[in-house]
């Protein structure tokens, strides 16, 4: 395996398996002089942490992040930042029955086909546990953005659980943090809770759609043609476990619009160009326009379920498999902070591509 790194100048390399001693990542390319401590990162990890409600996996992980390098006397030095999170609640024996069998809809079979060997415990490297490292890296990216692009705000939330979407008319950013679904529609929290509870008790799971927006993004970020801001966001979101689709702005709905409808007309405001609509999701020709960047991604239902499904094992024998272990009935819930983290990393990366390695910092003598 290779290619465990993403980013151009703000580069994140993640490592670790679900049931190994630890997971983590190296953030290479963080500019110097940024205030950073573990206390700045932990809140983001706590949002993704498992076991916080009955709607997520019951694995109990403290998810305490340690900074092992790259920070000196409370500020970044420009050297690589190593972030480590110890695994503390592995129950590897739960996975003995998938050591030789392949869960339908899971990476078990393709890892076997490619590598011939895999750490089956908890899904090993293919586990969503890896996303904790992304969230930690995202915390560093947020610190960079706070320093170099003050006013930039990233916000993620769930807009659809299974077949049930929120009512956009009731969108209220203030309620997102107040419910276990990151739901921006207060009226939808209880229906989703009932819906998911029913699925969970039926040994089933369900998908979701997540939206992440970033406002206050400076115009001019993005590198056409193959480092377009939207292209990099698509790659970043699609790399999250279980994601099957990504769209920017109106996305697939844009296919149904006419050119007259889709044109985001422009007027001149006091502070610069102002757009009368945002079908484009803040990106034109791969470059940010200054409007809010809007990304949505679809998460498939958790493939590890307690309902038996037909499959085979490594010998080719046909079996029926029930996946034990502790799993999220809607893995989309915990994908919200992950999507935010990926947005933060992509924006920090393009900000640094635009401004240079040091983000404009210079040492002086005398």
């Amino acid at each position: 395996m290779s290619l465990n790194t993403f980013g151009h100048l703000f580069r994140v390399t993640t490592w670790g398996e679900s049931h190994g001693p630890a997971i983590g990542c190296t953030v290479d390319g963080c500019p110097p002089g940024i205030k950073l401590s573990e206390a700045d990162l932990q809140p983001w990890l706590d949002r993704r942490k498992p076991g916080t409600s009955k709607f997520t996996t019951q694995r109990k992980e403290a998810d305490e992040v340690r900074i092992l390098s790259g920070v000196f006397e409370g500020v970044t030095t420009g050297t690589p930042i190593q972030l480590m999170i110890e695994n503390t609640d592995q129950r590897s024996k739960d996975y003995s029955n998938i050591a030789q069998a392949f869960r339908p809809g899971h990476a078990d079979i393709t890892y076997h086909q490619k590598y011939g060997v895999r750490d089956y415990r908890g899904g090993g490297r293919s586990s969503a546990r890896e996303t904790a490292s992304r969230v930690a890296a995202g915390g560093v990216a947020r610190a960079v953005l706070a320093s170099l692009a003050p006013g930039l705000v990233i916000r993620g939330y769930m807009v659809q659980m299974g077949v049930v979407a929120i009512d956009r008319g009731r969108f209220d950013a203030a309620v997102i943090e107040d419910n276990p679904f990151w739901c921006p529609d207060a009226g939808m929290v209880e229906p989703w809770a009932d819906y998911l509870d029913g699925l969970r008790l039926a040994h089933n799971s369900v998908g979701a759609v997540i939206e992440v927006t970033a406002s206050g993004v400076p115009a001019g970020l993005g590198a056409p043609l193959y480092g377009k801001l939207d292209s990099d966001l698509a790659s970043a979101m699609m790399s999250i476990n279980a994601v099957k689709g990504v769209e920017i702005g109106d996305g697939f709905a844009a296919a149904g619009l006419t050119g007259v409808e889709n044109a985001d007309e422009i007027r001149m405001g006091a502070a610069g160009p102002e757009f009368l609509s945002n079908h484009a999701g803040g990106i034109l020709g791969g470059i940010s326009s200054g409007q809010p960047v809007v990304v949505r991604f679809a998460v498939k239902p958790t493939s590890s379920i307690l309902t038996p499904r037909a499959t085979i094992d490594g010998t080719g024998a046909e079996i029926d498999l029930v996946t034990k272990g502790r799993h999220d009935p809607c893995v989309g819930i915990r994908a919200v902070p992950v999507g935010e983290a990926m947005m933060a990393c992509v924006l920090a990366d393009h900000l640094l591509l635009d401004r240079g390695q040091t983000g404009g910092v210079r040492g002086r003598i005398g």
Copy 2:
């Protein structure tokens, strides 16, 4: 600007502007010993060529591709392949009114914001004309695939124009090449023609959804976690002009499925594992499973339209802009061969990542 290259080992670097002397690309990483000539590439370019029906731009380009390097006595040598396509039908004067103004929904304004200077003629670098280079590179990728993965077939088609989708029950691959829309539903050709004609005459345009499938893909291609096959496909498709969404397999519909429904159950066939469904679109954990790889992408309506839209110019003055020049009323049509080319390039790239630079070729002495 930078990042005009895509791919890991099979790397394509494109160059050129819509109204410059030529466009082209360097294909670096093609293995040696592959039969290749201009006659192998030209048919793919002819499929994307403008001016072939009233439903595409009336610009007349021969789009003749020349191989300037990397091929000797009819076979590739493993050295970089330079492909050049001369521009022959520029009408730059059509664009004088956008030299200083920004088309709504177009990259004009963001290129200006980032670079401060742009070749406005025909959209310059942001023109869909660049995709001819991708199609040429895709032709090389197809030659690689034909040699190293015989039996692999890539097929693109339009599944939705504006709000009108095909009837999946009438899907017939045989009719795709017989109509100007790459429509796989013979019954939809005439309705789409009428629909698009109406829009065109109303000085309007419309979006589309394209699907590209690849069958015969070997299992084991893809590099978790940040070179996942689906992640790279998402990046590749999103990098095509006007694309606003990408999905793999069931894509956004997967969000509405339960885990029981979404599981692609597995049985053991004579030649290996057989899946009973393909919700996953042939990719599990970022690695190909051997099932057909299925990608869809949404193309927004052409932003260059003859209907006036409100915008500003470089001085900040508010104006109404009509875009003259020759434009596609549904740019999604010509995106079909481009999507196929990107699929070919991504698959060739991952095949070579898996097999190495030379694809297994070795020189012998004696």
Copy 3:
């Protein structure tokens, strides 16, 4: 083959074979707004051009460079710059005897071993003809440096031909351009001419040592640890045909110094730190210090000579081989402008890494 690209943000991809229709390169990452025309590049190519004296190959190439993209109305736009140089004086029949045989000391055999097929005409891709593309790219890099780091001066010259070194006490930059050897020691020109003439008439060739310096380099360029300025310079120079060694500052002589001797002591001058010596060659810990950057590289003797040498052919038969064709008796001479070009590219690359993609340019509206 792959990896025909060098640079991090200022990326140069070269293509082309010695006897193909053309050679060239794509320069991706040049910032926008830089004044550039073919007339700015041609003088650098003319310095490297073959056939200008009896001491270089008699192949006659105009080496006229064309800019095919990336420049609009006399300035760079930030898009990829394609540079093409047509081959006009191929005499491929000269090479028929090496079609199946391997010149000792040449890449013939290893290309065969790796790829199994090669364009043997004039050495194909392994020919020093490829360096014309580097010189063209170096011309773009010089334009970038002239714009972003005015006062930076790059100068290359030969300090040793075969066993005969210049007298450092007679170093005079003013005479470098006045002799066919780029010799900075006027008293050495005639001895070198006699020496090389003797070798040429004896059907022999000889090596050389080239030095390239850059003064006026801003402090702070370089990216520890694996994009160190000296590490990148070593890679760049070693990638030039026939180069077998690279050193920075005192280089191998530094091994013989003590720490007391080697310390470049520092005093405070009016304009900042001043160093009392430059053993380090302007680079400390991989980062430029503001002192002149000094690089030397060793070029082996041309391996294509008229004296017969023992070798084998593709069937494994043992033969004696005489290399016909037109070759440089001291390929080090023409390596001088190539070394300068590589220095320019590496410095431009690190300047842009430090300052960002656009080099600080921003478009304004209103």
Copy 4:
């Protein structure tokens, strides 16, 4: 800072500062199925470990390496391998006097100029302590080579200390491990010991030249033109702390040879081509020929010495500086295992480029 990664497919990202809690690296791209444990890596680290003789720094570090990921049940899985080494013997107070001052010949000043902030304790990121991570990664690379290229042997040794070179006629590989200098000339051990002792007691230090050879390298490794095997080796060696020069085969001496002398003539042996000499150092046109690969690099004298040298501090004040702390009088000694590690990494990288991500491993079902 960025670019803390080296390698194309076998990618090593190092992290950590001299006096932080730990250092380490991520090895991404190791193929699956390779036997690997901490016991395989520790012997290489022990060879580089400080404090083993009076000729190296007296810092006492256990340098115990832990594998945190990528290995399952004793074999690699193809996922990233995280290697961590805790720092246990920091004496940061020794460095208080360089917190604000710049050691002549050291990276202190350039880190300050670039980043404006630095971890001055023990040199922070610029310390040679980072090379422990390289040695650990080199251990993984050796395991890969042992599996995929059995018979390949890497050997490093010192050929010159200060102005005193070994006698090549007395070269004996068997004695290299028997003395503290990795000296292959038994008759030179005592003279070097006396020489270095004298320098050490005089509060001085000295440089060295190291040679690293690899025999049994398969023909065909290397990627012209900008991933040449020699170009990558030059970059790798030059990235080691204090290295100022790199040469391949005859290196700078090749400049003094004629083409007749330098030609490595070829005969046909039983097992394939045989070369009658190895001026080229096993690499032709950037590709391995099957002959031993020979690299030499020059290490400058340690810049941290107890003799006062003139310098400035961050306020621009001129001072005389004595560097306390524990330092190697000849840092070249400990560079020997580092050079071997870099050779191993570069060869493993190119082997995988040639053979693909999995090195040819395939999982089977049934």
